[in-house]
């Protein structure tokens, strides 16, 4: 089987600072693979390990995204593709899905597409469903367990995590699966694969390579304002002669601050 995984490199939580003029301060940002995308990648790797085949990992963005792709290769992905075009630098989620669909069509043969349920930076949760829509494929969102993924029988059965309930659904392949947290335990990159991942040839595709017209992909949403989160109040250490006294003081403090 051929699994295609879309990943996005995002800032580590809490590493984003907003400047006084409401711009994003890129200086302290620690890049990581978006949390839910790691689960997507792990699931694709697990399914391919079980069924045979290969995993292609794709991301859309600038050269800095290469780190995420190399990490994915060191985790076990077979090939990586970077869609890098300055014209796509400010692309929105919906248009990113359009680009994703063009990538999948160019790849041709595939059985399943995995992506996180949403990115942990923009949090629009649009990409997966929109990608399925553009490709005319079934979408299985909020997947938290894959029961069966059989490329030969063209069949996939998964559990979906709804707000309060779960449901088991079946669809034909190919399909788009969007993944939630704790679907699996993402592996660490293998140090044995690092050299290979560092040397791997990662093709760069542009909008033109994908037959897309960048002017149609101009951002349709404009940011008007950004409000940074309020600074965290300072922590304090609770002193006391005994555990009981400390616990009592802690409870008092929590009551005072209306936490409990």
């Amino acid at each position: 089987m051929h699994a295609v995984v879309f990943i996005k490199q995002v800032p580590q939580q809490n590493s984003v600072k907003i400047t006084p003029d409401k711009q994003i301060d890129a200086s302290g940002i620690e890049p990581i693979i978006s949390l839910f995308d790691e689960y997507a990648l792990e699931e694709a790797l697990l399914q391919v390990e079980k069924n045979g085949g290969q995993v292609t990992v794709v991301t859309i963005g600038g050269e800095e995204q290469i780190d995420a792709l190399r990490k994915a290769l060191a985790m076990g992905a077979n090939q990586a593709i970077l869609v890098n075009d300055p014209a796509l630098a400010t692309i929105g989620s919906l248009d990113a899905a359009k680009v994703g669909a063009a990538v999948v069509k160019k790849l041709g043969d595939f059985d399943a597409i995995f992506c996180g349920k949403q990115s942990t930076d923009d949090e629009t949760a649009v990409f997966g469903p929109a990608l399925a829509r553009y490709l005319g494929l079934p979408v299985l969102s909020y997947v938290f367990k894959v029961h069966e993924l059989d490329a030969n029988a063209r069949r996939v059965v998964v559990d979906r995590a709804m707000e309060t309930t779960t449901e088991t659904v079946e669809a034909s392949l190919p399909a788009v699966l969007t993944t939630v947290k704790d679907l699996n335990q993402p592996r660490y990159p293998s140090l044995l694969k690092i050299k290979k991942a560092q040397k791997a040839d990662i093709p760069r595709w542009t909008a033109a390579d994908l037959g897309l017209n960048p002017t149609e992909l101009a951002p349709k949403v404009t940011y008007l304002d950004r409000v940074p989160p309020p600074p965290r109040p300072k922590g304090s250490i609770i002193d006391g002669a005994s555990a009981q006294e400390k616990a009592r003081k802690l409870v008092d403090a929590l009551v005072d601050t209306q936490v409990i």
Partner: protein
């Protein structure tokens, strides 16, 4: 000069940091309290390829350079000292001699399973009468037909009871003294091989260091590692490399002590101010920064020298001496910054202090390092001694 890590080095550093912070650090207090060897962590480290980090791919390694190994060691030690020591004993002492001096067959039989993490490796050098003075080795190995027959006793052998093989230093030619020492590979389960109790130590309690008893232990002639009679110079070469990673381990322990002290100095208030606002405390923090920075420069530089194929023996002694003594001071001061809490096992700094205390002793004491450094400058005065 270029102080930038390569992409590959950064990748290794980041991967091991993530792993160590998530999988190792949360278990450090438990490892210390129980003295349990962290088997599960090592199984996971094997999956990652950490246990063969510096060795060639054909023997199951990741072929990382010495600086990457130092960076990885530093991160493991940031997570837990016992794990770091067992790791170093495995890589630097138990496996490196095979990489440096092993025949193709020995590398296939012993280096590969060690690098792939099928088992831990150990190195048996220290004896009751031969620690710093390794030339005083008394363990003997005599050739009987096609077998070495080994007799003797080793002390403080890290990983010994869990090792798949132990590389033992033994006198193969008694009358030759130092030039009669050789290294011999003893596989686990060889009759006549037994171990002492798990030593109760001040720190690094999860690493298994025991006595090793060799009582008419017979191994095939082919288990001679390196040249007969060159064991002493062989293991000095091994120990030179070990000093780099002991320095890196010292930095990792000190880094955690430093971070704990900084956080505490920012949060703990006395007389209405965070204690970090008082110069007596902030000076200690400043000294920690300087100690860490200088130790890193020395350790990374010697790793770089090794990677360049340049002589690094002297620089390794300098780096090991400085990093381990700086680490001891940093961990000591971290306890001081935390005051009563620093003395409590509720906080990690007392453990870090106990852990780092070994590092000015193991793999060449500070006194031996000073001797090595001074001899490099002054000459050996061998005739006068």
């Amino acid at each position: 000069m270029n102080f930038e890590l390569t992409e590959e080095q950064q990748f290794i550093q980041q991967t091991v940091r993530d792993f160590a912070q998530k999988e190792i650090a949360p278990r450090s207090a438990h490892i210390d309290a129980t003295g349990e060897f962290p088997h599960a962590i090592f199984r996971h480290m094997a999956e990652l390829g950490l246990l063969g980090l510096p060795f060639p791919e054909e023997y199951g390694g990741a072929e990382a350079d010495a600086l990457s190994v130092a960076l990885a060691t530093e991160e493991i030690a940031r997570g837990d000292g016992s794990t770091a020591l067992a790791y170093l004993a495995h890589i630097g002492l138990g496996s490196t001699p095979l990489h440096l001096f092993g025949t193709e067959e020995q590398k296939r039989r012993f280096l590969t399973p060690a690098a792939q993490g099928e088992y831990m490796a150990a190195f048996g050098l220290t004896e009751p009468q031969a620690g710093s003075d390794a030339g005083a080795t008394r363990t003997t190995a005599r050739l009987e037909g096609d077998e070495w027959v080994i007799n003797g006793e080793k002390l403080w052998i890290t990983n010994a009871p869990i090792a798949g093989h132990i590389i033992v230093a033994a006198l193969t030619d008694k009358e030759q003294g130092r030039k009669g020492i050789s290294m011999i590979i003893v596989p686990r389960g060889t009759p006549g091989l037994s171990f002492g109790k798990h030593e109760h130590k001040m720190g690094l309690r999860g690493s298994m260091s025991t006595a090793v008893f060799l009582n008419d232990v017979r191994v095939p002639k082919e288990n001679l590692l390196g040249q007969r009679g060159r064991g002493y110079s062989h293991f000095l070469q091994v120990l030179d490399g070990g000093r780099i990673t002991i320095g890196a381990m010292a930095i990792g322990l000190a880094q955690t002590a430093y971070e704990t002290a900084v956080k505490y100095a920012q949060q703990r208030e006395t007389f209405g101010k965070p204690i970090g606002a008082y110069q007596s405390v902030s000076n200690m923090i400043a000294d920690m920064v300087v100690g860490l920075e200088a130790a890193r420069l020395l350790v990374y530089k010697v790793a770089w020298l090794k990677d360049q194929g340049q002589p690094f023996s002297h620089a390794a002694a300098v780096a090991k001496l400085y990093a381990t003594e700086a680490s001891e001071k940093i961990c000591r001061d971290a306890i001081q910054v935390l005051g009563g809490n620093g003395y409590s096992s509720e906080y990690p700094v007392e453990r870090l202090y106990r852990d780092t205390r070994l590092l000015t002793i193991g793999e060449g004491t500070s006194e031996i390092q000073r001797m090595v450094i001074a001899r490099h400058v002054l000459g050996s005065f061998a005739a006068q001694l």
